[in-house]
Amino acid sequence: MDAKVEAQPTVRVQAPVVAAKKRDEASAAQHDVKLAAGGVNLWYGEKQALFDVNLEMFDRSVTALIGPSGCGKSTFLRCLDRMNDVIDGCRFEGEIRLDGDDIYAPKVDPVQLRARVGMVFQKPNPFPKSIFENVAYGPRIHGLATSKSDLEEIVINSLTKAGLYEEVKDRLDDSGISLSGGQQQRLCIARAISVNPEVLLMDEPCSALDPIATAKIETLMDELRDSLCIVIVTHSMQQAARVSQRTAFFHLGKLVEVDETSQIFTNPTDVRTQDYVTGRFG
């Protein structure tokens, strides 16, 4: 983060001022913009996957991205922490601002960015290491812990926040793979929040889980919302309705509509959104 401040002093100076002002003005109802995508176009080789997407995502709230398969919502999510960079033949155009700074600026280091923007994937993917090591890995490579006890504290905190600590406190040395699917996914969340990210991206985090595990993760998202900006891609409209404050509907690579979640599900303006949320296609 420090490197970034030096890299772009002009942008960085005014952003906190605006943010602080906004936070003072609006209390609970409206949070400040954490992430703002402007004119995002993206190509996989010759094929264009995203068309001029403009979307604001607010701090301390959950934004749900919904839409039929192949509509570009996951692609858009992966743009937010530059995970598309590692894909061959992927070309990005436009800008995405995190606290007002363009994360696609040439001087931004994607590795540091990913420490600020955590990600949880569709399939639980713990490292084939111990539970402790899974969570300790991020803090360790980013130098967040100065001592062993520091590291232990971070691990325990993260696991507690992810609601997993009570279940695994006796077997932190067991392999992360020995856990059940839902526990694995919460372990992945613990791993993601262990480096204190500002944004948490979740790509269909519950699609491989049973309803009980899903409910646990949704509760967890509600709790994490107090301190994080969460963006979730989901196929389940009920889930979107349950956990998100704002919902964005994607269709064929275009952002069709974005609004308060209640608006999208009760009174959408676009006919395609209406058709989708009422189950007429998708």
Binding site: M83, Q112, R114, M119, N125, P126, F127, P128, I177, A192
Partner: protein, 547 residues
């Protein structure tokens, strides 16, 4: 399975019609046929492998024991100086010891009887006495290897006697018998042949002269017109020409006429005519040697202990003393170099190509080339090593360093390909997870992907090494088939040999003992390969992680 019940007919579908039943029957028949093909193919493969291994084991197992004689030797102080034991008259000591065991051998046969022992016997005795100087003046019992023919004789690999006649010769004689020309004459088995006394070659004399030998042969040839082989003439005894000469001397008028002459047959054929199987002594042995050997055997001095020398001796011209220690050491050095070169280079290449290299024409070209290199015949790598390492860089010939370098050329493609496959097999979710918490590409590689790919990499490396261990042609080309009679001076820059080239040299040697030793060396090589593969499997099992 084959008599499965047809399911309830769906509306409109005729599951019970004859056609449908026939389809089902055909399907099951096709299934069974496919399985049968597979089982037949596997049985053929396993059978052939079994035959191969069995033949190697049967040929090779005699080499794992060695016939030895416990010879009591009196170390005569008159012949060995305690001050300078290295220069004693050990040859005569051994001869005396043998003469004590087998007394009464005539002077002119002593040398040939001495050949029952290995030619190295006097050196073995010398080395023993130099090491144990207190043995001087005492009688020591030293286990000495027998020389190769007697070793083989004792193990029953070669017989004491051979058939005197080949089956072809037996058949010729049968043909003569069937034609009624074999008869008893003057108490001897004889051939009654028509001889034309050709006036062009025979002078009636007296005394008669001429090519009687040629006449006898011609007359025999007339009975075996289709045989173009001189060994048929062995049928006639040595006095065949004399028989004609006697007839001509008795009656000079027969010159120019055809007469019947009785030729006595040679001894083996005479025995054959009596219904015996004619035998001759194996030409490897003399009668005196065989007698002496029988005496030694009867005294119970011979035994066949496990042949540790096969593993711990270096090469020798005498099969009974030859071992694989030099070859094993040479192979070890060469593989060490090969591993140290190809493991790091191979992994670095694979990691770069798989994870970092941009996809363009150039990297595609490199990839295609690496895949092709794996298919290049090894002899080509040998030529390359000869031209580049020896010719251009002027490295020494026959040394394990160059051998290892050439082998690493062969192993590199294998390691690169298997490493890339192992890297590819690491699920992308692991990479994403690591990238997602902010690991750099390098950290993803070193912390997650490489450790997870390591079992696959190690398996590939060991298999590559095993391949290199069995590689012969490139080592022959750089001359790594030196004759190494001692392990002491071996090193990375000293001439050496290796297991496969040692097998090659032994297979080329004429001595009978090298036949079984070649097979035994193959078994040792197979043993090493087996061990390496077991290690590879064990490593894979040990480090395999599931995700």
């Amino acid at each position: 399975m084959s008599d499965a019940q047809p399911i309830e007919p769906a509306a409109g579908a005729e599951w019970n019609s004859d056609k449908a039943r026939r389809r089902v029957r055909r399907r099951y028949a096709a299934n069974r046929r496919l399985q049968a093909y597979g089982i037949i193919a596997i049985s053929i493969a396993v059978g052939l492998l079994g035959v191969l291994v069995a033949s190697i084991v049967v040929t090779g197992y005699p080499a794992f024991v060695q016939t030895k004689i416990d010879l009591p030797i009196y170390v005569d102080p008159a012949k060995v100086d305690a001050e300078d034991p290295a220069s004693g008259k050990y040859r005569s000591l051994v001869r005396e010891a043998l003469a004590k065991v087998v007394p009464g051998v005539p002077e002119n046969q002593q040398r040939s009887v001495g050949k029952i022992l290995t030619s190295d016997a006097s050196y073995i005795l010398r080395d023993y006495v130099v090491e144990h100087s207190d043995a001087i003046g005492k009688t020591i019992t030293l286990p000495l290897a027998l020389s190769d023919p007697f070793d083989q004789l004792y193990k029953g690999v070669i017989p004491k006697e051979l058939d005197a006649l080949s089956w072809v010769q037996v058949r010729w004689f049968e043909r003569m018998t069937n034609r009624g020309v074999v008869a008893e004459h003057d108490g001897r088995t004889s051939l009654k042949l028509d001889v034309y006394i050709d006036p062009a070659t025979v002078d009636a004399g007296p005394p008669p002269s001429g090519d009687f030998d040629g006449l006898a042969r011609n007359s025999l040839q007339a009975y075996l017109p289709k045989v173009h082989d001189t060994s048929q003439f062995d049928m006639l005894a040595n006095d065949a020409p004399a028989a004609i000469e006697k007839r001509v001397a008795a009656d000079p008028a027969i010159v120019g006429k055809t007469v019947q002459v009785f030729f006595s047959v040679s001894l083996p054929y005479a025995a054959l005519a009596k219904g015996e199987i004619p035998k001759i002594t194996n030409p490897r042995f003399t009668d005196a040697q065989l007698e002496a050997f029988e005496v030694i055997e009867q005294k119970g001095l011979l035994r066949t202990p496990f042949n540790w020398e096969l593993l711990f001796n270096a090469d020798s011209r005498f099969p009974e003393r030859a071992g694989l220690a030099g070859a094993i050491t040479g192979s070890f050095y060469a593989l060490l170099i090969c591993f140290m070169l190809s493991f790091p280079i191979g992994i670095a290449t694979a990691v770069y190509l798989e994870e970092f290299a941009p996809k363009n024409r150039f990297t595609d070209l490199i990839e295609v080339n690496i895949n092709n290199l794996a298919a290049v015949p090894s002899v080509v790598f040998g030529l390359l090593g000869l031209a580049v390492f020896l010719g251009f860089f002027g490295l020494p010939r026959s040394v394990p360093l160059v051998g290892g370098m050439v082998l690493s050329l062969m192993t590199l493609p294998t390691i690169i390909i298997t490493t890339r496959a192992a890297l590819k097999a690491v699920p992308p979710s692991i990479r994403e997870a690591a990238l997602g918490v902010g690991a750099s590409k390098h950290q993803v590689m070193m912390h997650h992907v490489l450790p997870l790919a390591l079992p696959g990499i190690m398996t590939g490396t060991i298999i590559g090494m095993a391949q290199a261990l069995g590689e012969t042609a490139p080592l022959l080309l750089i001359g790594m088939n030196a004759f190494i009679p001692s392990v002491e001076n071996m090193g990375l820059l000293e001439p050496a040999t290796s297991l496969p080239t040692q097998i090659f040299s032994w297979a080329d040697s004429p001595e009978r003992g090298f036949v079984s030793r070649t097979s035994a060396a193959i078994l040792v090589l197979l043993g090493f390969l087996l061990i390496m593969n077991v290690v590879a499997i064990a490593l894979r099992q040990m480090f395999q992680r599931k995700w």
